[in-house]
């Protein structure tokens, strides 16, 4: 389930000299990034073409469906020109990409606003939600996984493992509903839905952030904890951990400074996938909590067949996925120096 599982071996690394200069690792990394970028460009091009082909998926004429049967032929032509339906998909995609590079993603069919301004308003909201969710997930998963792995089979480990297993059976929308029911309906401590921008009122912003961030973060926490626990148990059985212990290293230091880092590669992958997939997750959570992020924008645009917005969201999210994959790849190298020096 991990698109970024294996580090890319597409780029040909510069030949390793016997005495590596300071420049060599930089060149190697640059070569890899270039290779990744080539692959990423291919993916992005495919996604763009597919996104631009979306209106063609509709049975009948999208223009007639949107404008109604009373539309004049001129209106239909104008509408089709706007969506690029008058041209070959490839030509339309080329034009769209050219415009996109000039910062023009078209205009919303329903509001008439520039898609770029819509996105600029909403991307920060989705990002804030995502970061908060990661903090929740890591904040829960790290201590639980560390403790479970240190005492595998112990009470905490057994409860956490069983708990995570049960937890994973709760879909995001059910979790969100239960949280709303608990916090907003029963306890009345948090608002069920809505949003206040941070710049307007930081405290209200935080209050609105809690439930959606928990909904996204709690599910991820279970996945994180499971993955990290397994890796940590493997790491703690390594000779080098015993070696560090034989030099008098205490448990806490050992776990945090010696065992965590070599165990965190899969976690990095998971967070990376999270970035890429956050749009899908945010559609659900943002709709549930009426958070005005990219997710709700996408849901509304899809429901209203607002093609320019939908296309922009699809391409932007693909850019996000690709960027996350590259970021994960680079982070791999920081976390594990062996990958950076891999000669393949």
């Amino acid at each position: 389930m991990t698109p970024a599982h294996a580090p890319a071996r597409t780029a040909a690394a510069p030949a390793r000299t016997t005495a590596p200069t300071a420049l060599a690792p930089v060149l190697r990394t640059a070569g890899r990034v270039a290779g990744r970028a080539g692959r990423a460009a291919a993916v992005l091009l495919l996604v763009t073409v597919s996104a631009l082909a979306l209106p063609h998926l509709m049975p009948g004429s999208p223009a007639l469906a949107a404008l109604g049967p009373t539309a004049t032929p001129e209106q239909v032509t104008a509408y089709e020109a706007k969506l690029g339906l008058d041209d070959n998909v490839l030509v339309a995609a080329w034009r769209w990409l050219g415009d996109a590079l000039h910062g023009d993603l078209g205009h919303s069919l329903s509001t008439g606003a520039a898609v770029t301004t819509e996105l600029a308003d909403r991307i920060p909201v989705t990002l804030e939600l995502f970061v908060a969710a990661q903090l929740v997930a890591l904040g829960l998963a790290l201590p639980v996984a560390l403790y479970s792995a240190w005492r595998p089979g112990g009470a905490v480990d057994r409860i956490a493992t069983a708990g995570a297993f049960v937890w994973l059976a709760v879909p995001g929308f059910v979790l969100g509903l239960v949280l709303i029911w608990l916090a907003a309906v029963q306890l009345r401590i948090l608002p069920a839905t809505g949003w206040t921008p941070f710049t307007e009122d930081p405290f209200e912003n935080l209050r609105h952030l809690v439930l959606p961030a928990l909904t996204l973060g709690l599910t991820e926490a279970a996945v994180f904890a499971r993955t990290l626990r397994g890796q940590l148990i493997d790491t703690l059985d390594q000779t080098y951990v015993a070696a560090a212990r034989s030099r008098g290293m205490g448990t806490v230091r050992l776990l945090l400074r010696r065992a965590l880092r070599p165990s965190s590669l899969p976690l990095v992958t998971l967070v990376g996938i999270g970035i890429g997939m956050s749009l899908g997750g945010s559609v659900l959570v943002e709709s549930l909590f009426a958070v005005p992020g990219v997710g709700t924008l996408a849901a509304t645009a899809i429901a209203g067949r607002d093609f320019p917005v939908v296309q922009a969201v699809v391409v932007v999210s693909a850019v996000g996925v690709v960027a996350a994959t590259v970021a994960v790849d680079l982070l791999y190298r920081t976390v594990d120096p062996r990958i950076a020096d891999e000669r393949r």
Partner: protein, 342 residues
Amino acid sequence: MTSPVLEVRSLDTTLHTPDGRTLHVLHGIDLSIDAGECLGVVGESGSGKSVLARTVLGVHPRATRATATGQVLLNGEDLLTAAPRRRAELLGTGVAMVHQDPMTSLNPVVRIADQVTESLTNRRRMRRRERLRTAAELLAAVDVPDPARRARAYPHELSGGLRQRVGIAAALAGSPALLLADEPTTALDVTVQRTVLDLLDRHRGTRGLATLLITHDIGLLYGRARRIAVMYGGRIVETGPTEAVTEAPAHPYTAALLRSVPRVTGPLRRVLPAVAGSPPDLSRPAVGCPFAPRCERAEAVCSTEAPPLHRAGDGHTAACHFPLTLPIGPASASVSKAQETV
């Protein structure tokens, strides 16, 4: 007469494995090492020699639980009864260990400098520059070329021999009184083995370090270990000065071990005899001599009665019913008892 750095008295160790088995691994181990002295512990895999080192160190694999009885005295202080805090304090500074495989005993994602200085940084904070400087000094002391650059490197950038030097530097960092070296050269190329062992010898001499050198290769110990302890089935079956044990082994197992060592001298087309059979199953209670099932001299008594201690020379003893050498001094009661049963 100075008191020994390490003195182990009737040490018994039992391991409880995660799959629920109980292994009685060490039986009544007695040994002592003086400052600056090297004791060689020889035995095949499964003889308990690694467990001996781990029991002295007090660090076992995470999944196994170990219980030890007897005494492990480090400079007169019993480690088995010491408070956990005190034991942790002594790790690295009182007793240190060089691990077998330098490929797996160094953390792949931690810089050499940070690992080499662990024994020090576990006690007090060190700035990065101080760590690098200290590490470079420690690495220079174990003949690592270009130590300042190596201190910044990661383990995978170093060769196996260099990594083992790093392991030794890390062990020496806390200036321990006792060094446990568990097969320190087994994973290395033959050409590198010698230099690493010489390095250990040098530090033993200059620092007055007591060294417990564990190996399966009795040949390694010539000229390095003053005394040898041969382990079999969790017992020391023979112990004595290196020359005496190797030239006139009293225990049939020692003799078999020595026969399996290749020699430069002697007939060319000699088939090296392997010691037949396999080590005893430690999960069964031991009765009689553990080597009896594989011993060519074994008789009925060997598998029913624990062998008596046979004095083969000055400080040279073997636990055997039918030793290969004649006893010296007054015949002990147990020896005559053994003769009675014949």
